[in-house]
Symmetry: C2
Subunit: 504 residues, 2 copies
């Protein structure tokens, strides 16, 4: 048995994933660990999926409500979706099978601000939580738990669940111990107190989860890697977007609005976020900080180069190569990295106070700066809102980033009216595409439209957007936010009908 299970009582509860999964009953609510492909349970969800499939084969109903931190991996979301065992999923996912089931109407999905889920579950909106399944990197002698590569909502699930299943993953570095900051000061109102962080490097909690050993019904040993997306070298568009951003930072420093160390950076998941870090590493900026959700490869590089002096997040989201590099050198990152619960990593109080520069991807923006982060053609869920709303609403500067076109040019990411709104015009300060950067601060809707067409639209769609805008200015019933209602969503309909937003 692994030396990582130091608590005698919990050593006695070690069993197979199949035995552990048997504790999970049909119709219950389960909170699992996992935030991106990091720190999710590796064995029990697979065993549970088998158990569900077997029940379905016998003609029995077996579905659960599933809460996590954010997305996980095919071993968890994929397997459980494939089994048909998920009735409800929150707050975020990015798995192809789960996505297909959601868009076929087979899984109810509640796309939720990542900072909000824990408090709503605490508040009972989703009923009681029956089981928590949480990966940890070790169980200490006193029964406290060393978190693994993501913290997410694990503290809340461990506190709330009637029964707890722990996976102890010996693949995770033992040296993770001490890196986490688990804050036990949250409460429901009227008992909430200020969250006393004034710098991304502040620690206000403890490095371990508390968990009553009496609630633990099973301990499962695993030795399995996290599975995040492979690192892809930045493409031309991502580099161009990143360059526009770094140029803008320089511009803001020159204008006296940011100081030389900028303000704490929040950077979403994906290639563009990695490209932004890579451009910052090439820039003159040094000693920056990040107050963000995930640490990607690019952020590790930025820590190595001194571009970043430290990063606060709730999870790693590293490629296999970067995870190996990190695991081999945890000690050198330990004073530069903090993983917090996602309530704190994404807390609106802290986002406002620290003055975050929030950089998030999007699917499309419209002429007036409304942003759709989630719905393809207004109806199909892509992944979810994630933390973008937590950061954008309260950020000091809220950036949204996308290539100007998608699907080989058949989709314009700048449209007359977005087909779904996740971020309103009020929360969108700067739009960036490979074409350029539109600073929308201090602009009225019509002024925004002119700038977005000029700076961000793909050249193939610029005339078509200008034509819509010109006609809307003449024919719209109101001229505050001019629109032709019969035509506003016609680009999306045309794409559905013809496979392209381009006019014939």
């Amino acid at each position: 048995m692994s030396s990582r299970i130091q608590h005698a009582g919990l050593r006695a509860k070690v069993m197979s994933a199949q035995e552990a999964a048997a504790f999970i009953r049909p119709g219950t609510t389960v909170g699992m660990s996992g935030f991106t492909g990091s720190g999710y349970p590796k064995a029990v969800p697979l065993a549970l999926a088998e158990r569900i499939s077997a029940a379905h084969a016998r003609g029995e109903d077996f579905r659960i409500d599933l809460h996590t931190g954010a997305s996980t991996s095919s071993e968890m979301d994929g397997a459980l979706a494939e089994s048909g065992g998920v009735a409800l999923r929150t707050p975020f996912q990015s798995d192809p099978t789960m996505r297909a089931k959601i868009n076929a109407g087979e899984v109810e999905y509640i796309d939720t601000h990542l900072s909000h889920l824990a408090q709503t579950v605490w508040n009972g909106f989703y009923g009681p939580m029956h089981t928590a399944v949480v990966e940890v990197s070790a169980i200490r002698e006193d029964g406290t738990l060393v978190p693994s590569s993501s913290v997410g909502n694990n503290k809340s699930w461990l506190d709330l669940a009637d029964e707890v299943i722990l996976e102890v993953n010996s693949w995770q570095s033992e040296e993770l111990e001490g890196l986490h900051d688990v804050y036990y000061g949250t409460a429901l109102p009227p008992h909430r107190q200020p969250v006393m962080i004034t710098d991304p490097a502040d620690r206000i909690g403890q490095p371990y989860f508390e968990c009553d050993p009496a609630k633990v019904v099973a301990v499962v040993e695993t030795h399995a890697p996290d599975r995040n997306s492979p690192f892809k070298p930045a493409d031309e568009d991502s580099i161009a977007i990143a360059q526009h951003l770094v140029e803008f930072f320089e511009h803001e420093v020159a204008a006296g609005r940011y100081d030389e160390r900028l303000l704490p950076l929040q950077s979403g998941v994906g290639n563009i976020a990695n490209a932004v870090m890579a451009e910052l590493v090439k820039s003159r900026f040094r000693g920056l900080t990040a107050f963000t959700e995930v640490v990607q490869d690019g952020m590790l590089d930025a820590l190595d180069s001194g571009t970043l002096s430290m990063a606060s997040a709730t999870a790693f989201s590293l490629s296999t190569e970067a995870a190996e590099r990190f695991n081999a050198n945890v000690a050198q990152y330990k004073d530069k990295l903090i993983l917090r619960t996602q309530e704190i990593s994404n807390h609106p109080e802290l986002v406002r106070r620290l003055g975050i520069l929030a950089m998030n991807g999007m699917l499309e923006a419209d002429l007036y700066g409304n942003v759709n982060s989630t719905h393809l053609m207004g109806t199909k869920m892509m992944n979810g809102l994630g933390g973008s709303g937590d950061f954008a609403r309260n950020a000091f500067t809220s950036f949204f980033l996308t290539p100007s076109a998608a699907k080989g040019g058949d989709i314009s990411c700048i449209v007359p009216m977005v087909s779904h709104v996740d971020h309103t015009e009020h929360d969108v300060h700067v739009l960036v595409t490979e074409q350029g950067l539109a600073d929308l601060r201090g602009l009225s809707p019509k002024q925004r439209a002119r700038k977005i067409i000029a700076k961000c639209a793909h050249p193939d769609y610029r005339d078509q957007l200008q034509d819509y805008s010109d006609r809307a200015l003449k024919e719209s019933s109101g001229l505050h936010t001019p629109h032709l209602l019969g035509e506003a969503l016609s680009w999306h309909q045309r794409y559905l009908d013809t496979g392209s937003m381009k006019q014939a």
Copy 2:
């Protein structure tokens, strides 16, 4: 000269409104006081409007950029809009003439979260502020200023402006002194500190504005009433909405999610908000608190009855009768009322921490719980977002309220897709119409649609909504948020074409 001007240097600067208005130059940015029809300058804007009209008559260009706290009155927004002297207006308005100019495309308007404007002006997004015109109720011997019936953004305008014009309004009660809490601890990041309020009754500032007397170029004496809307007895729909809400509060107390004193209430402006207070007065609830923007007539009644033990806001918004009643009895309200700067009254940090029950009006909601608070038929600005976003995003429970139909039944306030989004599905917990209350917490989009049709839609539109929903479930390209893009905005277009959303 009024005994209210105790500072010798400032007594020497008393002059007429016309002389004062002459300090305001074309092309400049002016910050004025005012939040609803309270505490706005009564004389200088009128004199400025005359000065602008005279300049225009001479063929000269004369326009200013105008920032306030929120809406004001016809004496200010109305007169300045009429003069054609406003190039840009932020962050909120509700004046018919100003609205007409905005919707004719003659005034650029930036509809802004009320808690955000001060920080964006501080940050220079709108350029320098040349002049502040601020109503106060007295000038003290040391040059500090006693605020009047609204605080709004006055602290920021006084700090930021190159030149200050003060109006000392002797109509305002002298006993207002001591009621205000002006917080001087705000800063731009990275220098922000926690805002140490954990109860609506906490005071963290001082009762006076600071203002360098050297910056004051004019002091104008006035004796003029605030002008808020007359109080209207609650109509049937408002009473029904209020009753649904109070019943829901009882339900939440029974479920153990609110305690007997509920949580601090935020309540928008208007008849529905007054009706909610009236129903609470009739209920068994006592000792509640409010952490809100404005104190309306209904809130005064609730303080009188002990339903509310105290209220924190940034402004009064009282009918003439209630204002007279308040002015005659200020002493008895003084320990129960606090007026703060709008940065603090609407601060996301405090809204989240205190766990506000946020109740805001809206124009329309859609099947999935997205809310339009601002745009008639998607293009015409009604008033603005106001503080609804400050509260809804971070509220413990976010309620949106409206009658189910408008314009004698020709507009359904529940539509397939809203024509503009101010509050996304993520930030809308409960919808209430006179028909009923839809608790959307913990529901997926399709579940929300069923509940909204059943509970909130007007009976005249229920079948039409169900028909859209049924067909969307069959024909939508994605089934997460089913829509027929070609039809989603057709109700609004039909209203524009035929005068009714009803199908022929």
